[in-house]
């Protein structure tokens, strides 16, 4: 059980590291800035 939990934990940690690397990759800056604006431009007249 301990090994199972440890391996699972390491898998999740690797996933988290991947997320962090992707999110901090400078090439994604423009896209993320545009995504952040989605709520501000979501209705035709009064969005």
């Amino acid at each position: 059980m301990t090994t199972f939990i440890f391996l699972g934990d390491m898998f999740v940690m690797a996933f988290m590291a991947g997320i962090a690397a992707w999110i901090l990759y400078p090439g994604n800056s423009k896209t993320l800035d545009e995504v952040a604006r989605i709520p501000l431009e979501d209705e035709e007249d009064h969005g």
Binding site: D33, E34, I38, E44, G47
Partner: protein, 479 residues
Amino acid sequence: MEAVSNKVYHDTVVIRLIQFSVIWALLAMLGGVWLAAELIWPGLDFGQYWLSFGRLRPLHTNGVIFGFGVSALMATAFYSVQRTSHVPLFLPRLAWFCCYAWQLVVLLGGLSLLAGYNTSKEYAELEWPFDIAIAIVWVCFGVVFFGTIAMRRIRPIYISNWFYGALIIVIAMLHIVNSLALPVGLIQSYSLFAGAQDAMVQWWYGHNAVGFLLTGGFLGMLYYFLPKHAGRPIWSYRLSVLAFWAFVYSYIWAGPHHLHYNSVPEWVQSLGMVMSVVLLAPSWATMVNGIMTVSTAWEKLRTDPALKFIVLSLAFYGLATFEGPMMSIRSVNVVSHFTDWTIGHVHSGALGWNAMITYGTFYFMAPRLVGRELYSSRLANLHFWLALAGTMLYIVAMWAAGVSQGLLWLSVDDIGELSFDFKDIMASMVPYYILRLVAGLIFLAGTFLMAYNLYMTVRGRPALRAVPPAVAPAFGVSR
């Protein structure tokens, strides 16, 4: 019921869910005030079983969480998912089914609690027929939500939808597993789990119901309505994505901190404690992100009651998510557990975070849904101060009561015997309980003001026919 259209956002169902949510808030909070009074004057049950504390208390919690909270989450999820996907709701008639079926489940389930049918699992008290009905409505909720996302006209899935999605998926998983039971009658059953396993499954459910419903779902609300209302994008979208995954990863482990000094393995207790402390990071990441988002829009706080509620809810979110990890540390928990400190902690989250962000969101949505100004900003401002005063008085009273109880219960004399009688300790709590009752009345009065204000705002007005904008090229998806 509005005509099904391929272009117009389906907002009438959102208005109806807001109305149900407000009705449940009034009823369930009235129940809470009555319970607070019963703790001072036990005779208020008038010898009636259905008015006893044991039956009214689950009615209060179920009414607030599932009636008020889930109706608000459905309303805001339906409102925001269409807008962030640039398409109307998928299967709008199914959304109407979710709306009415959910109210029926909460109503009949509440009546069953008053009649004494109770599984004895906290926040999962309803018996098996209601559990099945909840699962069906919840799956329908998921079909409408994820169907809308699948039909979206812009490629990215905005962060609020990730939180709402986690709410739907994880609550379905928790509810179904924790409710597994052997029926032995029309409204009676026995859990499939027994002993320590039952306790561990129950608090895996119980803590994550708090985590993914009362935290994750409401964070979805925050990430959509805060930038929307402040008129600025979220301060760091990167931080919001990191906070989401860290939140999902760490919360699911934290349940065993409810079972400290119990008959579950010590390593399980330690794991729950450590992951609870780790949770501080994603929680405060969101709080900082929210505060920084409004940091360039402080001037709006002077005049806008809706934004005041949302920003104040962030402060209470930060407070509650600091206090929770501290209380999960075993050496603190030995004082806090089974005392009113826990009640104060729960209400700093429930009143300060959940209710306040919901109130702010309702004040924001209602005028926009019907294309009319809020009926009275003065009443909304008065509501804000009543809500703040009620919440502060409540949690300070319960902190004082809880810390006193914990320390007095642990006091021993020179030969190791308890210094104080349990009955005497509880009798000395009455002044704090009176303060709590006053706090509850103040908070409830504010909620009545909001109900009147929102009623006057939407009275006699149909939902505005809001439509998606032209798709921005950067996000366009060819369909």
